[in-house]
């Protein structure tokens, strides 16, 4: 450990000789009170040599610590934390927490003594912000890690994407678990169901949401109707998804029975079907689309609208050809994020579209399975109650697929935003 600081010291000396010919006399005295404290710390050897260095620095750089200080402090904290956490019996979480706490404290003290209060406070908050960031990252990384590690075996099972759950019963799963036979059954029906329901929900909610926000931004001029719409959109944002599901189910049942009593047109169609789930999802999606689109339309500069009007262009053409194209990247990414939000909904789809084991391509007839519902069912009601491992494997793999789909949607949103973004440069 002694070699590294020396070599760094050598290098810094050479730098200093090149830049400042006369060494500044005062800094050494300023620095000395800190030096003994630091020197006595076993885990902070690099700090010892800094006192000698300081005298040779230029006036401008005298109150700075070498760049590698934070690394040295971190390494020292890690060593001390490892030693301390070994006392009750070493565990990684305890070690990490101790390291973080020690690092924050030690770097504050070091900076306070060697540099000054302002720098120390700055460093303290920088460290705390970084810690908060790492803490926020923790659940995300651990979710991805656990889903990938547990879900991957099921995902690479042959036929997982190509088959549905038809004919998969308890005996097959029992054979898989007891004799190690391949886990059969797949998510083809769930993927098809999820995609159909989500696409239908998008087709319903994007025009409604887009036109609503166009009304709010371009036509309403802040009247009572606009305020009422904004208020109810905000209320809709907070509706629990299960309520949206119950609403859509009840509304569809009422609609079908009313039309049937009046005309008899729908005969025996039951309200549990894909389109009912799509309506439930669009109840959740419309407020998100309205909100994001409204924001995007509002940031389109008024100058562009006026430029268009001044050319003798009508208002609806201005909106269609100037305002929307300028905002399209934000609108598209907002819509994609709204899709990503509803594709993971379980409850509203479970109560409106039900659950089946085979592929159903028809949104307007029969029950339909979506991916989240599939995951829920595989966990809650395994195909074979006594041999649940294959069901759990399928559920984890389906969860992985769902995460991948959501990630892809987010990537698409970014890509769309980039492709459609107004070209700002081009010189």
């Amino acid at each position: 450990m002694a070699d590294t600081p020396n070599s760094v010291q050598q290098r810094e000396r050479r730098d200093d000789d090149a830049s400042a010919s006369t060494p500044a006399p005062t800094p050494a005295t300023v620095q000395t009170p800190g030096a003994p404290t630091l020197g006595s710390r076993s885990d902070d050897a690099p700090g010892q040599s800094a006192g000698d260095l300081a005298g040779r620095r230029s006036r401008l750089t005298r109150n700075t610590l070498p760049r590698w200080t934070w690394l040295a402090v971190l390494a020292g904290s890690a060593v001390v934390a490892a030693a301390v956490s070994a006392l009750p019996g070493f565990s990684v979480p305890l070690w990490l927490v101790l390291t973080a706490v020690l690092h924050v404290i030690v770097s504050y003290v070091v900076t306070r003594l060697r540099v000054g209060r302002r720098k120390a406070t700055d460093g303290l908050w920088t460290n705390l912000v970084h810690l908060a960031f790492l803490t926020a990252l923790l659940p995300l990384v651990s979710v991805i890690w656990s889903v990938v590690s547990v879900g991957l075996p099921g995902l690479i099972e042959p036929g997982f994407f190509a088959s549905d759950m038809r004919g998969i019963d308890g005996t097959i799963d029992q054979a898989s678990q007891e004799q190690g036979a391949a886990v059969l059954g797949g998510i083809r029906h769930a993927i098809i169901g999820s995609l159909l329901i989500t696409i239908a929900a998008t087709v319903i909610s994007v025009p409604i949401g887009l036109l609503t926000s166009i009304y709010l931004v371009e036509y309403s001029r802040g009247g009572p109707l606009a305020r009422a719409i904004t208020f109810f959109v905000d209320v809709m944002t907070g509706i629990p998804s299960i309520v949206a599901g119950l609403f859509a189910g009840a509304a569809m049942a009422w609609f079908l029975s009313t039309v049937n009593t009046l005309t008899g047109a729908f005969g025996g169609i039951r309200s549990t079907m894909g389109i009912t789930a799509a309506i439930a999802l669009s109840v959740l999606m419309i407020p998100v689309v309205v909100r994001t689109t409204e924001e995007m339309l509002r940031v389109v500069p008024n100058e562009l609208r006026e430029a268009s009007y001044a050319l003798g262009v009508r208002k609806w053409r201005t909106i269609l050809k100037v305002v929307i194209p300028t905002a399209i990247s934000g609108i598209a990414s907002g819509v994609t994020l709204a899709i990503a939000r509803v594709i993971g909904e379980t409850a509203p789809i479970l109560v409106t579209a039900g659950f089946v084991v085979n592929v159903n391509w028809n949104l307007f007839s029969g029950w339909m399975t979506a991916l989240p519902v599939y995951i829920y069912r595989q966990f809650q009601n395994p195909t074979s109650p006594n041999f649940s491992d294959p069901s759990h494997q399928r559920a984890w793999a389906a969860a992985l697929v769902l995460i991948i789909i959501v990630m892809l949607l987010n990537l698409i949103a970014r890509l769309v935003a980039k492709v459609f973004a107004p070209k700002q440069t081009g010189r």
Partner: protein, 259 residues
């Protein structure tokens, strides 16, 4: 091709607030008229009422008569969009459409209105307008590049090209040079001198030298105090306004004693 403007006792309101009061003015066709005056005196507001851009703002209204070659543009049944196709406007800050190329920006008046142009016609319009705005030689090799990639002065001339592409009768300019450097300003001023051969040009400016350089007639607007309406104080030949004004406040303003 070019039309005269005549305002008769025109009042311009923002909601209940009277912003400009009782303006009567006659602007000859094929001339350059400058509006000068201190900030907030209603020059821009009055200018925007000349092509009914004023009423785009919520609550903004106009009373009185405004005749374009004898036709009242505020008469009943007049479509503001028709007025705007006849009276074009260039804004204070260059505002090319960011989603469009230079070529499409020039053709915006046609493209946005859904007018179909053949390739040859479109090329012709682009070249004629860009030449008219003294911009063709600078951009002819990059017509397909975004308009927002040009410099500020080029963008402003692109906006002028866009305006003359639709062949209006009158061109309104709202401080077109206030965001530009002296060289770009010179280019735009030269352009104004050429434009008056074909168009009626009305320009709002804070720069009195500019008004003296480019205009034949000058209108001086002033405001009695905050919250009071702006008024047309004096309207005369530019040389008279700057050398021998009748009103005391005009003389104070053009000689730099206030404002």
């Amino acid at each position: 091709m070019s039309k005269s403007i005549e305002a008769k006792d025109l009042n311009v309101y923002y909601g209940d607030f009277l912003a400009v009061e009782g303006v009567s003015i006659e602007i000859a066709s094929r001339s350059v008229t400058a509006f000068i005056g201190p900030s907030g005196c209603g020059k821009t507001t009055f200018l925007r009422s000349l092509n009914r851009m004023h009423e785009v703002l919520p609550g903004a209204t106009v009373s009185g008569k405004l005749l374009l070659d004898g036709d009242d543009i505020y008469g009943p049944g007049v479509d503001p969009v028709t007025v705007r196709t006849m009276v074009g406007m260039v804004f204070q800050r260059p505002n090319p459409f960011p989603t469009m190329s230079i070529r499409d920006n020039v053709l915006a008046g046609y493209r946005l209105n859904g007018t179909r142009l053949s390739r040859a016609e479109a090329d012709d319009v682009v070249e004629r307008s860009l030449r008219g705005a003294n911009l063709f030689n600078e951009v002819k090799d990059r017509l397909d590049k975004p308009g927002s990639g040009l410099s500020g002065g080029q963008q402003q001339r692109l906006c002028i090209a866009r305006t003359i592409a639709v062949k209006p009768d009158v061109i309104l300019m709202d401080e077109p040079c206030s965001a530009l450097d002296p060289i770009s300003t010179l280019a735009v001023e030269d352009l104004i001198a050429e434009l008056k051969e074909e168009y009626t040009v009305v320009i709002v400016t804070h720069n009195m030298q500019q008004a003296a350089r480019v205009s034949e007639r000058t209108a001086f607007f002033n405001i009695a105090g905050t919250g009071k309406p702006g008024k047309l104080i004096e309207y005369d030949d530019t040389s008279t306004i700057f050398n021998n004004p009748k009103e005391k406040s005009t003389e104070d303003y053009v000689s730099g004693r206030f404002g």
